[in-house]
Amino acid sequence: MSIEGGWTGCVLRVNLTRGEVRREALDPRLARDYVGGRGIGARLLWDEVDPEIDPLSPENLLVFATGPLTGTNASCGARYMVVTKGPLTGCITTSNSGGRWGPELKFAGYDLLALEGRSPEPVYLWILDDRVELRPAADLWGKGVFETEDEIRRETGVVDCSIASIGPAGENGVLYAAIVNDKFRAAGRSGVGAVMGSKNLKAIAVRGTGGVRVADPAALMAAQWAQKEVLSKAPLTSEGLPAYGTLALMNVINEHGALPTRNYKEAQFEGAESISGEELAQTRLASNKACFACTIACGRVSNISNEGVGRYTLKTSPRNWHHATEGPEYENAWSLGADCGVDDLDAILKSNLLCNDLGMDPISLGATIAASMELYEAGVLSEEQTGMPLPFGSGEALVAMTEATGFRRGFGDEIAQGSKRLGEKLGHPEVFMGVKGQEFPAYDPRALQGMGLGYATSNRGACHLRAYTVSAEVVGEPEPMDPRATEGKAQLTVDMQNISTAVDATGLCIFLTFGNTLSDLTPLVAAATGIAYTDDDLIRAGERIWNLELLWNLRAGIEPSEDKLPKRMLDDAIPAGPAAGEVNRLSEMLPEYYRLRGWSEDGRPGVEKLEDLGIG
């Protein structure tokens, strides 16, 4: 078989140690079975990387993977996936980002970019179609993301290029450092930015002037009109997300009593209203903004409030005279806000902006600051250790700690390790709210039982995007389910994990599942690639990728015994609110989950399962 469309058919390989660039053909069978993005990336890691390596060693492989729909006019075809071994978790990590970078890589002619080794000197990679070169980046080292992008545009003279880079956090090995593209879009989680920093790679600037070809143009056009029609009618994708962004969730989740507050000690935040999407829209929103080809446009462009001027400056470049920044997303406003007890939206905007500029994941950062605040209030941490008072609710401390962490100054050096290592070091491992080393996002698994199972079984540590059961448990899509019940949650989680994995592999954004079902998307993938995929084929591809990731983790030494939740989620009931008295009942769901996965009772796929999925 040969590649007819969707994929470019070319994998760009760069050996940073030797400064060598080479091109490889994409195996069409591999593309068919693993679809793209997360799938082909995972397969590369499986084939080439010893799972036991140190993630920050030159032996780690850093993959940027687009999907067959990246760069097409399918709505939300903007995504690329960073696949590597994550330093925060030790797991295979798959970190997704939008903006314009993925499509540019595709237009330059590459499905994937895989970087190996470690450059002897700081460099950045410059890709202008066929021209691929490593350029010195000593002058950029130490600079933030915003300035790095401006400098590279100046140096290359190609203002239309798109840049993915790391800030000081990635250079300094903050374990949850992000890779940020287009200044405000990030492959955020698990420390992919630290991997890039360990390779002495400051940035990857891409400009592609080529085009993406599809196998069946007429079918693709029909499928994309149908897909967009659905998105333009569904309430969330046509109204909720454009108006309020993902931050529309703040009040909703709070009303359900599922908004983790002050490091998961409570599940409702009294200040939720003042950090909500509605509040942002009324007082600070300049505009919404779309990623490439997105017809939803959930992105926020925000200004600091009049009261905030003077307290915080949002400066994104020397020419930024309007205080305009992007965000915050719901997860960030939660981690930097409710989880730290902070109800000051200006402080959150400032901290969020610093996360973009310094290149850090705001979820893990906010959660680690929250854990530190808990220890500070408990008297375990003294002001002498932290360098400043660190009570819950202090926006000042939030902003100061964000900056200190990016540069690993003072107590920021401790926060840079994440809350698992921080808690263990201080003799209080119970403050770590997460799974497999990665901090929870913004949904309390005691109030939403399904999220607990999703967090526990996620292949990259706690994550909301791998199985967004919130959709059924709160929003009522595709079918309403009782958030307090455990019945049916194992099946829901398996289904959602497989479908989300498939969507991640196509190069589309997972947010379109707020409107589209898989049946809207399958025809797009089929038309682009010329392969007669069915819904079941894609679900099976999702399952194949999921199993492969899990196997890789097993070989990395991440045992199924790690499929667990912190004691606080299992034993300490939510104190008040609609979900008062609830704990997560993981043990009621996990055995069924393993059974539905077709794995052994102790959570391992057998030979039969792997043969069935065609994993060699």
Binding site: T72, N73, P103, V212, V214, K228, K289, W321, A324
Partner: protein, 161 residues
Amino acid sequence: MQALEIFPEKCTGCRQCELACSWVHTGLFQPSRSVIRVHVFDEQASFAPYACFQCDEAWCMQACPVNAIDVDEATGAKIVLDDVCVGCKLCVIACPFGTIFFDKQADRATKCDLCAGDPACAHACPTGAIAVADVDPGAWVGPFGEKVDGAYRSAMEGGES
């Protein structure tokens, strides 16, 4: 006479118009060859697609040494005759708006032809920021330019750092 009418306040910067334009003209998704381009004024949260205004004076047409630019009688759009154009780029230099381009791949000049009165970009725009209408083609540019320029000037004068 028809032209694209642009409503910049509705634009989200998604570039569906660029994808649609390149699709109908090249059969590929290739924004670099689109003749409508989204300009992103990031720091002011302003985005504006813009394409040829189909202006009356049509300096491109006047500059062309081989008469390769003609007027579509149905729409009034200025169109490049591919088989006449020799790729000399004089039109690109002449256009005061920067909306006629040199297509390296085709070795010809290229510009908005209004898709014979039914522009693909307008269809593709999810927010209705592009329409085709019998309008004063540059009408939207003035207020938009004043907004962008005004903000720039006030900042320079205000000295906000």
